[in-house]
């Protein structure tokens, strides 16, 4: 046992939740939802553990990104604006990915989480609520609660996708609509057409309402009718796009994300930005990644294959799964998220936390490597009581 692991066990003591259970609650439970990470309760990693709880990329960034980190480590003593790869340089480079964008349209953040927080802070007010899906990424709600800002939650559709019609209705008079596309934790994505209609409607009916289009999982989408809404963010004053390097780019640990918006709107959230937020090695890694677009393509192909495999496992055993377009899936296991999670954790497979009000029958499972998912599905089989031969007889 390593020293830190021992220290952890001592801190937690008898009667406290087990390290495995805490891991299984996932990052958002600790951080996004409650705002503060109780570091004492976080166990060190166990090498045999399969961590499919936090929608992370199990492989990390590509070789070009890693090389760029190595090349730039000697600039650790420089503030980011003095390092060879400044945040302005990265903004300029990212701008070239979007038609008509300039450096001023990009806001860099230490993780796109900052974009989410700052949109809530910049655009919501005591009489201007946050509108979000009932089952959506929870961090904007946490921010609103922290600053005593009102929240309107709109129930999801039957397929667990966001209910855009009802959200559009709720948007009237709101400060900000958080539109997570694809949506976490359901993995569902809306078509470009639906998003465009939504934006047009809100811009017309409620011109002072902002829309944050969170495309954290953009790269992983395979649905044919999906497309980025970046052009909307550049065209409409009230639309912002959130993007991250934490998912397909494999840099959750390096804390890099960004927003795309018109110059005026970008300035509104930039005002809340943490000064010098993005670190030099994160910037270096982004630069290296952008040099190697093929690596990103391969990662998407890899994730799609493993996602298909995992979805197929559940569906062929009679379980309903959302139309997940992401590096995670949302499954109707028919048992409580807790029972499923604890059952899996006994076998060192860590799956997602509770997602109320769906915690009684659903679980979120992130996509690991093919190898990991092959082991994990064996564990799911055992926990769900699926015998190797009775495919099709699971609860539905």
């Amino acid at each position: 046992m390593t020293l830190t692991r021992r220290a952890f066990l001592r801190t937690v003591g008898p009667g406290a939740p087990s390290p495995a259970m805490i891991t299984a609650r996932g990052r958002e439970a600790l951080e996004g939802e409650f705002g503060v990470v109780e570091t004492a309760l976080i166990p060190p990693p166990d090498m045999d553990e399969i961590r499919i709880s936090s929608n992370e990329n199990p492989l990390g960034p590509g070789a070009s990104a890693i090389q760029s980190i190595k090349d730039n480590v000697s600039y650790s003593n420089k503030y980011p604006m003095n390092s060879p790869i400044t945040d302005t340089a990265i903004r300029t480079r990212l701008a070239t990915h979007y038609d008509g964008a300039k450096t001023e349209n990009i806001v860099i953040a230490p993780g796109s989480g900052e974009v989410l927080r700052n949109c809530v802070r910049a655009f919501c007010g005591p009489s201007r609520p946050l509108v979000t899906g009932e089952l959506s990424y929870g961090s904007p709600v946490s921010t609103a609660e922290l600053f005593d800002l009102p929240v309107k939650k709109v129930p999801n559709q039957a397929d667990l996708g966001l209910d855009l019609d009802k959200m559009a209705g709720a948007a009237i008079g709101a400060g900000l609509v958080f539109l997570c596309n694809p949506n976490n934790p359901t993995g569902t994505a809306h078509s470009k057409r639906a998003i465009t209609d939504f934006v047009r409607f809100v811009a017309k009916e409620s011109p002072f309402t902002y829309i944050l289009l969170d495309e954290a999982y953009h790269e992983y989408v395979t649905a044919a009718n999906y497309e980025t809404g970046a052009d909307l963010a550049l065209r409409y004053r009230n639309v912002l796009l959130g993007r991250t390097f934490s998912k397909a780019y494999g840099m959750a640990g390096l804390r890099m994300g960004y927003a795309v918006a018109t110059k005026e709107t970008a300035a509104k959230i930039r005002a809340y930005k943490l000064t010098f937020g993005a670190n030099v090695l994160g910037l270096a890694s982004v630069s290296g990644s952008l040099d190697d677009p093929d690596h990103l393509k391969q990662e998407v192909v890899r994730n799609t294959a493993v996602r298909d495999y995992t979805i197929d496992f559940f569906r062929s055993n009679g379980y309903w799964v959302t139309d997940a377009q992401t590096n995670f899936i949302f499954v109707k296991t028919g048992m409580t998220a807790k029972a499923f999670r604890d059952g899996c954790a006994k076998h060192k497979v860590m799956v997602g936390r509770d997602f109320p009000p769906y915690e009684k029958e659903y679980a979120r499972i992130s996509i690991g490597t093919m190898d990991e998912m092959k082991r994990a599905t064996e564990v799911f089989r055992e926990v769900l009581g699926i015998s190797a031969t009775d495919a099709g007889s699971g609860s539905n």
Partner: protein, 392 residues
């Protein structure tokens, strides 16, 4: 008269302490504009004495640990950092012999400064600080519409404790930057200790944020950290950074030491985790090294003191007055508009500090390596002689 000077005079005309604060805010914006303009310069060709960075870095063993921490196949950065936070909290707590409940880590001490401002000031409870001082808290207060009061320094460029005392009446938080950036001066240790007691007695609800970013570079005998006071009194917070003597400005990590109740209040606004896994690795490794051998920081401090003394002596020998610098930068009256001085140095490939109104002829010069300072004084000589010749 330059545009910024004219604006400044207009602001001064209003006269109230609040008006001084407005000046701090606009210079903060100026700074980011200047940074943007600078991106075209290859970093390796410039002597950068503009940003109070440590030219030596954190040391090769720490950098090696960063690279090792990437994992065999570079997989570690794929995971969120939250599992890495505990070991750093523990290491900081062990270093200062406090509980980890007394520690809050942030993405640079910037995050601590921002959180404290958010938590302890409001539109009725002002932020109080010196003019000039480090602008982060004032900039944030302006963004969120919190009240600010800035108190001009004394004629010897030190914090004006008497006027600060009065400004703290009814205030929410005092930003006590010691040594003070940009002027590099330190409050007299005995006077400072007495002042803090007195002001907390006068305003029982006041919080004091003691920013000790540059403490490792202080050479004044008898100067001590305020951590002991902070642990005893929940109203005092000490901010520390890995950006200066530890040489990790680009990695973005700092922390607060305070009473456990205060840490809880601050943690509430420590929104999200903005610290990289590589940064955790670096900071944890640096403290592990300290625990075995504390000489890294004492050596860095000594290196800085030598280069600082050399540079200060050059200015004294040439008839220029400076403050009693106690940091990795100095503050000297170059007897010409600092904007012009800055531009002339820049043309020679040397970056020095920007103007810090209302001190229009003082320049903040960060201390580089001895070699850099030897090259820099030659440039200063050229620039200042040319200015003198022109004036004559």
């Amino acid at each position: 008269m330059s545009q910024s000077r004219r604006n400044f005079m207009k602001t001064m005309g209003v006269g109230a302490a609040g008006a001084y604060a407005a000046t701090l805010i606009s210079t903060r914006k100026q700074e980011s504009i200047a940074f943007a303009a600078e991106t075209g310069i290859p970093v390796d060709e410039v002597i950068n004495l503009a940003n109070n960075e440590n030219p030596m870095g954190p040391g090769q063993p720490v950098l090696d640990t960063v690279i090792e921490s990437l994992g065999t196949h570079g997989e570690t950065p794929g995971r969120y950092p939250f599992m890495k936070a505990g070991p750093l909290d523990d290491a900081i707590a062990a270093k200062w012999n406090v509980k980890k409940e007394n520690v809050l880590v942030g993405a640079g001490s910037t995050q601590i400064l921002v959180n404290a401002t958010q938590t302890y000031t409001s539109n009725s409870h002002a932020l109080v600080g010196s003019l000039p001082t480090y602008e982060e808290c004032f900039g944030y207060a302006a963004t969120v519409g919190h009240k600010t009061k800035a108190v001009p320094l004394t004629s010897d460029y030190k914090m004006d404790l008497d006027h600060t005392f009065y400004a703290c009446k009814g205030a929410g938080m005092l930003f006590y930057c010691n040594p003070n950036n940009p002027v590099a001066s330190l409050v007299d240790p005995a006077e400072g200790a007495e002042f803090i007691k007195r002001v907390l007695k006068m305003n029982k609800d006041l919080r004091i944020l003691v920013d000790e970013a540059y403490i490792d570079y202080v050479t004044t005998p008898g100067h001590k950290t305020m951590m002991k006071e902070a642990l005893e009194d929940p109203r005092i917070i000490v901010a520390r950074t890995f950006s200066k003597a530890y040489g990790m400005a680009g990695l973005r990590v700092g922390y607060a030491i305070a009473h456990e109740d205060t840490i809880k209040e601050l943690a509430k606004y420590n929104m999200g985790n903005s610290i990289s896994v590589l940064t955790y690795a670096a900071a944890t490794a640096a403290l592990a090294r300290d625990a075995k051998d504390p000489s890294f920081i004492t050596n860095e401090s000594q290196r800085n003191t030598e280069a600082r003394s050399f540079t200060r002596k050059w200015f004294h020998d040439h008839g220029y007055k400076d403050t009693d610098a106690q940091a990795n930068f100095m503050f000297v009256d170059v007897k010409m508009p600092v904007e012009d001085f800055q531009a002339a140095c820049r043309a020679e490939g040397l970056r020095v500090g920007r103007p810090f109104p209302p001190l229009w002829t003082h320049c903040r010069i960060s201390i580089g390596t001895m070699d850099e300072m030897q090259r820099a004084v030659k440039i200063f000589d050229k620039v200042l002689s040319a200015a003198k010749a022109q004036a004559a």
